[in-house]
Subunit: 599 residues, 2 copies
């Protein structure tokens, strides 16, 4: 084989296996060294290719796409710092358990660590933030090399998918010339490597591997003490943190119904919104638990937790305070999601299966058959929600928290609401009530960064999964402004609600706000940017709204027209703190008046 | 001590030592976890603080600032992916040998790897791309802790500075509350740790460490064979690649004068421009060595190389072809800068000292006293330069290569010319002739990325080292567009020459251009962006020029007015290749006519 045919045969074997293993999308950034992979991928036609000029945006775009599809997405770039720009998205994927197959092209071994251009140390480039790393060999026209490339592709997908899902990294050195041939020679021209020719037949060519991944379930013996535990306490809580398995709602609802336990459902849990029975779903816990009287009167004896740590700080403080309760953490990924150090049981098993099996294993004579504990939570929850609603309706100014109940009026079924970190995700948690609408709420809650959020939401849009609305603050929007290029390049639909308070709004809630002489410089960090021109540059429409009426109209128009629309809600950081505090005060008053003091 | 006083005492001890060790600037990104360090730094007033909302830009800004100042600059961010965004700049600093002290705030140990928010594995986050890493302990009010913090600060600076200079990483876990006290108690209140109290006195408080870093020099015995080597060959070349020691020019010029050897001076070597004797400086080697006849006739017998691998591909191919020559590589950093695998001598010693000592050690009776070899290079160089000049003057269209000779008319003495990677640095090499002007040319040639270049040039501007002109392509400009925010925030002066050919111009020179059905999608990558609105958003002026006259006027105005100015030179990728090839053809013709065929 000629060198260019070797390239085609080798990268073709790898890419065919990757496609056969279920990877349908490659987000890539242009570069020379990656030519053998990207050109062969384009010629194969088995992948949808997404071009990004900034690798950081490419990484977060792939992340969003993989979350939306619930399947591994490939990421590809050239050698050098290009690959380092993937790092933030790789880390986010690792902690948020999103399957990514990261492919980096590299210089051949003779150009490593000898001062060659664009040659950095790409071996274990992402350190402990990938699940699997392979430094591939230089391409060869042997059966052995191609069998290996195919195996690595299948295994990379398997590693990325298996619980906990996450990123894997394959590093491909290529030597010049980098241009693959249009076609590789027929398989019979492949060169056998003597020693391994026997066992490797019929490996080259058309072999595929189907992955059968079992489900981790508890045995009856393991489940029995858990069932006894739940049966023996009247005051129990089920906490659903961020997670993306659509089956969890059904399992949790069944468990709650059996027990009469309230379900404190994070907006990112898939349990707060949807057509399932939401009788026991509590959505105003963030408001409730800020009230010391309520919190003191509603400490549980047993807590069952699904998903990642919940978003609400009030809830986390409450759970930490209840450290004497029996805490059960269910984590199918075998991690240790217990930042509060309260877990009494750490359960490594499939959450949905476990919830159903647990319900089935409960004894008939539950001590808490009277349901008064759960009803008290529901009653207080209703009072809090009513108070929140009335209070935010009373504000003359645009209140950041009101964005979410306003969106509830305009978000269609099947829409994805992507929210930025820092304030938007907290406001979502506090202010978007439970609903029967089939909304999917997503956020980058692996590492909770404000980076890459625009690109992540565009990745969801690219999945074709229905309308996407992104709610994002101005710092986060600035951080990934360039990510909007994908909307222009591919005509993607995205409606962005830009909460513009000219700086880091969250710091005004923190003790740092008490240091006025340095606050704005170090924490408030106003930038004075008017984003309208940049949005225009990326082909989007820009509307700055002054009323909620205008807001709803603008978002509706964005959703109806398609394409890129940015709806800016201008707010003030100090007023925002004041209004948030007024809301919590109103809830406190309402609870006191409503006599919600169940003990 | 109260916890907030511990914070102040501990971070104060560290930061005072850092300032005392010579760090005067901190580029930081806002965050909560880093509050103890940034607030104490602001209160101390010993540092110039540079705020960046995007950590990636912060990293490259610090890199540029450190290069301009030739001293370590600190970088600070909060925990999580914020720190990962520093990675591209850290890698560039590692390979370009730029001293950075990277400070990342981290969650305390009890929040690591337990699913806590913004908690990632920051231990060895930058892998093999930092020279030194310390995972700091939690702050303590003990003498031992403060003595340690001070020692780490001094040593971090020493490690960052010592050859080869580079980045170091210190990871600081902090537990809430994060707000340091305004003042720490007087030193006598510090708590001693019994076992080590003795030897640590008088460590806490005011101890400073002065670093005396020796210079690595060759002994006479080591130098003698090198001197004999140079003396024994008539046909020698001195190659000066990218490096930033201003003393090199003097040493190299002396060596060249003694030997009559041509000095092929990369524009980033500090040898091509300046007031030193440039008699033996060859600046048109990139054009000369594209001519096969010239290259074949001018193979050296001995090559002495200073600095990193040269920019010119023609020169590198020529050096590889001359693998039978005796190659001497001088690398004070103890690396292995020999991507061509041609080195016969690897010299770990200070380049400037070595050049001078070498000159002094040469015997009196040099075989090449006739100088005809060197004169032939100079003659051919003059012919090539003349041909280049005539040819580019004949183009009607705006030719990307002409940007540099045009800049030569307007760049004042003391100006810094920062150039982007990919095409600009190559065109600088090919088209900006040697000059007595005291220009400093800089580029990110550690890993040669197109990322972060805007921010790097703004870092140079922030150093106050004189006017800065950045020449950058549109992809690289897009990649770090957000970096312009620093110009707005701090009113920095920067004139940007934006070479806009709507895509990756370099690919049109590569074999990939021969695959028309995929070329634009995968490599050409047009984006259709008009940057004028974005530049306006960042407070800059924007001029798209149509003539060279307009170009010079616009750059002059930018330099005179200060602030941010973007001068766009719109070009076409295909025409650009055509014109480059016409230039090389013209040189070939001129050399043939001029009879430059010295053997």
């Amino acid at each position: 084989m000629e060198p260019d045919e070797v390239l085609t045969a080798y990268t073709g074997a790898f890419l065919d296996a990757l496609a056969s293993a279920g990877v349908g999308h490659i987000a890539f950034s242009p570069g020379s060294r990656s030519t053998p992979l990207i050109l062969t991928a384009a010629r194969r036609g088995s992948f949808r290719l997404w071009r990004h000029l900034d690798e950081r945006s490419a990484g977060f775009f792939a992340l969003g796409l993989a979350k939306a599809l619930d399947e591994p997405v490939a990421l590809l770039c050239s050698s050098g710092t290009a690959a380092a720009n993937f790092y933030p998205a790789v880390i986010e994927a690792y902690y948020d358990r999103v399957p990514l197959v990261v492919l980096t092209a590299d210089r051949p071994h003779e150009l490593r660590d000898v001062g060659a251009p664009q040659a950095i140390d790409q071996v274990h480039l992402y350190g402990s933030h990938v699940k699997w790393f392979v430094d591939m060999p230089l391409p060869e026209g042997t059966d052995a090399a191609q069998a290996h490339a195919r195996t690595v592709a299948f295994r990379a997908v398997a590693e990325a998918k298996k619980a906990p899902a996450g990123p894997v990294h394959l590093n491909f050195p290529f030597r010049e010339p980098l241009l693959p041939a249009e076609h590789a020679p027929a398989p019979r021209d492949l060169v056998n490597v003597g020693a391994v020719a026997g066992p490797l037949r019929p490996a080259a060519g058309e072999r595929t591997v189907s992955l059968l991944e079992g489900t981790r379930v508890l045995t009856e013996d393991e489940l029995a003490p858990l069932a006894d535990l739940l049966a023996s306490y009247r005051r129990g809580l089920i906490i659903c943190g961020p997670q993306r398995d659509p089956g969890l709602a059904g399992g949790v609802v069944r468990l709650a119904r059996s027990l009469g336990f309230p379900v404190l459902a994070d907006p990112l849990s898939g349990v707060r919104y949807g057509k399932h029975d939401r009788t026991w779903v509590i959505d105003a816990y963030d408001a409730l638990l800020r009230d010391e009287t309520f919190a003191a009167g509603h400490e549980p004896d047993v807590v069952v937790r699904f998903g990642a740590a919940p978003t609400s700080k009030a809830l986390n403080l409450f759970l930490a305070r209840c450290h004497r309760a029996r805490h059960v953490v269910i984590d199918e990924g075998g991690g240790w999601r217990d930042p509060l150090h309260v877990a009494g049981y750490m359960v490594y098993a499939d959450p949905v299966q476990t919830a159903h099996a647990w319900s089935a294993a409960l004894p008939g004579d539950l001590r808490h058959a009277d349901r008064s504990w759960g009803r008290a939570w529901i009653e207080a929850n209703d009072i809090a929600k009513e108070a929140v609603q009335q209070e935010i309706a009373s504000f003359d100014e645009l209140f950041e928290g009101r964005i979410f109940p306003e969106l509830a009026h305009v978000l269609p079924d099947g829409a994805t609401l992507y929210v930025g970190n820092s304030m938007p995700v907290r406001d979502l948690d506090s202010f978007l009530p439970s609903s029967g609408a089939t909304w999917r709420c997503l956020a980058n809650r692996g590492a909770n960064g404000i980076d890459g959020v625009v690109s992540s939401s565009l990745g969801v849009s690219a999945s074709g999964a229905g309308p996407v609305v992104l709610v994002i603050g101005d710092l986060s929007f600035y951080h990934d402004l360039g990510g909007l290029l994908a909307a222009k390049t591919y005509g993607l639909d995205l409606t962005v609600v830009l909460v513009h308070n000219d700086g880091g709004g969250i710091f005004s809630f923190l003790p740092q706000a008490g240091v006025p002489e340095h606050f704005e410089d170090l924490f408030g960090t106003p930038h004075g940017l008017d984003f309208a021109p940049a949005v225009a540059m990326y082909g989007g429409s820009f509307t700055r709204v002054r009323t909620w009426d205008e807001f709803r109209r603008s978002v509706r128009r964005g959703l109806a027209e398609g394409g890129l629309h940015v709806v800016e809600v201008p707010t003030g950081r100090e007023a925002n703190v004041r209004m948030h505090r007024a809301v919590w005060q109103a809830v406190k008053r309402a609870l006191a008046e409503g006599g919600a003091g169940y003990g």
